[in-house]
Amino acid sequence: MLGGNKHVSSGTLKNSFERRSVLIGGLQTAVGVLLAARMGWIALVDNEKYELASESNRVNLTLIPPRRGAILDRNNVPLASNRMEYRIDIVPERLVDPEGTIAKLGTLLGMDEVALRDLSDKLEKAHGFQPLGVASGVPPEVYDKVLVRLPEMPGVMAAQGFTRWYPTGPSVGHLLGYVGPATAEDFKAERNPLLVTPGFKLGKDGLEKQFEAQLRGIPGARRAEVTASGKIVRDLEMRDDIPGAPLQLTINGPLQDYAARRLGLESGSVVVMDCLTGDILAMASMPSFDPNSFADGIGRIEWKMLSDDDHVPLRNKVLRGLYPPGSTVKPAVAMAFLEAGLDPNASVNCGGGLRVGNRVFGCWNRRGHGSVNMAKAIYQSCDVYFYHFAQKIGMDPIAAMCRRLGLGEKYDLPVTAQHYGTVPDPAWKQKKYNKPWAVFDTVNATIGQGYMLVNPLQQAVMAARIASGKLLQPRLLMNQKVPDAPSMGFSQEHLDYVHKAMSDVVNGPGTAGRARLPIPDVLMAGKTGTAQVVSLSVSDGKSGPWKYRDHGHFIAYAPFDNPRYACAVVVEHGGGSGSAYPIARDVMTFLYDPAKALEVLHGMEAGWGGTPQQRMAARYRSYSAQYGATAPKPADEAEIQRRSEGPDPAAQAPRSAVTEAAAPRPEPDAAPPAPAPTASPSAPAGEAPQP
């Protein structure tokens, strides 16, 4: 450089320009070399890495949800199967304009205000990864319309897939449970990409949940070329799914459906067992929910309907309903007496009550039964007879017999929850309440009141064990070996005696004359039971508020001389056993003559407003009209679980020790009527049981 400013001339500037233009040229070349080197680094050295990245961009691997294994009844009739359908899902993470997209979808699919509200509820709770079902069972022409407009609605997916289908809907709701999309908790527990695949559903309750692993199957896969926005350009490769293995139950599908529908407007359960094998042929609990409509989640209106219903449609009452069994324990108590050596002909005189010390325990029949032996005590359900001999024989043999016959027992069944109740005895009471056993405790226990709580399945097992004399275990899965049930070790003489007495309940001068089967040569044996819910001072148990009415029980088996089927019916707050035994009669009739039984049912359903599905649909419409989208948001899954497994308000164990004897409730048909040759298809109200 030249030292001072003064010497600068155009010549020196020209020289400086020459030098600096070389410098600039060098800079440009250097940048060119840098770029070439950088490009070589990316495209040659790191080529493999970027090629892989480009391929994973281009090719999209989608899982195809496997077809779920069918659930079959004992004759391979599907209780749950899969139905091909078109469905629309959204992936919240990919939504660009959630409100606009939902509005657009709503118009395309013709969704009403309620459906839109349910969808935005789901969207609110959604997690990015979790696809949301918008609509399933979309008609093909609507599906095509959505398909055409997919490009303008990023985040919306339309696909053809399989959906769970329960042909008999609510009839199998409690038995099978339902399926639904995976929750965030499910995904945390099982980090499987299948769980977040649109259209995939897993078992949420009942057998669907219990046998998830077996029913699920192995997903198929599809490799497709996709654009950045997720649009499929073409399929590259397909791998078919492997459907889940079917599950065969001991259930008789048509019988299950019949039993559920026959419960009608009542809240109750029906259990039917095979007396040879212990197979559970039907296990119905009503009212129920329609598992078909749960598949895409529970909407506001549905939730409001379920919450408002005091008949607790979410609870499986067969397994989770606990009731005082009432007089249905009397055959068991009689067996205990016989085993203890009591002569069945030993009689007491029933004058309407029994005096023990300075207290009088009343018989349900205040006028008294006169001279009562064991047979009469069973078919007339005389309380005084049982009070009297129970005082003599003591509580322990009675409790032991009840347990032997299956009460208080938790069975080895693949079910999500089982409440097994209480068979009280002095030791139990001492431990639980720290109070000695009292006379009135025995009085209560012998008539199935007080502390005694059982579930309907236990009552059916008790009926089956008394009927067969075998230690039958209830069985739900068909694929097991039929266990050879050992004998209970009862003397045949004792069994025959009790069987005859139970037959007389129905076919003789008993308390359930109208329960006689309309089938020639098939005689049904049974025992009525009416269990009080509140003390006599609150309600007489027959009228007044529904929740104060007595529970109706009936246990039965048929044919009485060669037991084949056993049955237990419980009607919550039915007002007495008169609400229960007509149901048992018709269910038994169905086993022998389905056409005849169905005719009766159809007549009744005409009066009830249709089948359970039709009634639910009508109720939905009226709720929808009344509440619209203002119904409260549905609870989360944990809450639904809690409600289905929590205590039944209709069947609660006493919190504190019982201090009083229960007043036995009148049994219906006390005055033996002429046995009806055929069942009259009358509404339950018409069968209001009063002696």
Binding site: V8, L13, F17, Q28, L35, M39, I42, A43, L44, E225
Partner: protein, 371 residues
Amino acid sequence: MNRRIIPEAIAREPWQVIVPLFLLNLLGCAVLYSAASGKLEPWALRHMIHFLGFLVIAFIISRLPRELFKAIAYPVFIALIVALVLVDLIGSVRGGSQRWLNLGFMMFQPSEPMKLSIVLALAHFFDSLPPALTRSWRVLPPLGALVLVPVLLVMLQPDLGTGLSIMIGGLAVVFMAGLPMRWFVGAGLAGAAFTPIAFFTLLHDYQRRRIMTLLNPEEDLLGAGYHITQSKIAIGSGGFWGKGFGNGSQSHLDYLPEAQTDFAFATMAEEWGVLGGLFVLAVFLWVFHWGLKVSRNAPDRFSSLLAAGMTFTIFFYMAVNMLMVMGLAPVVGIPLPWISYGGSALLTNMACIGVIMAVDRWSRRGGPLTS
């Protein structure tokens, strides 16, 4: 020999540059044809029409007399400054960023011709400056005004990329004009010290994010980092030979954003590989070499500064764009001339070529004495 067959007027044109540029533009057309899934519409055909039209404009520019360039240097510069002020005023009234003036018959973006105008104005300035003043501190106030006023006006729009590009074009001319080297070294050091402060105070949030993203594109895979990541995947997956014409999945399946404009080089590299990239680089380096040769052979100070400044303007376009698509510079909206689709950038660059061609003509017609 050629001169006997071809008329001299045609033979004299710098075909050694025009032909490579035509080939480069043809490659651009091929890339745009492929990016449009094998269709001439909407880009490829228009890209060629633009090129041919702007080539005519370049030829016209190359015929303009030196005196005309000198005469319009300041008036055009001042007119553009006025236009930039208007843009900023409209922008501050409307809010948001404003870069265009609506002239009724067309949308006019004054910052684009400013890239040429600043070079022209500075070349004229140094030409008329007594040589002795070149290394005096007294040159700085007028120089500062000439460079910083348009740069600040453009950056206020805000348009950092164009502002920077105007400043670099101006600084190139200042550097070539022969200001003391230690000033540049000093300014460079001061700039390095100032950069961190500027980063945290002057830049807008989105500009800061772009720079952060450059440093760590994987951090922000779905935001601004997405552009860089996808561009590198496109270039990297092309390998040496490329995936073949029409086989670029990154561009065809829309993973590469701006595949036909700012990231056209990546679109090209995916299908044509390193081979295509080297061709593009070679053409550019050849053009720079030619531009600097012309400026060295120029008849006077004005013309040589003009040609050098124009060359550097083209270089800046190329460098920033290619550094960006290869993940070495932040994402700024500067296209790659002759490859990317877009009229205004191509017009600017073809005008640069036209000006260099004009200088080339002047040097052929007469020596330095004519001035």
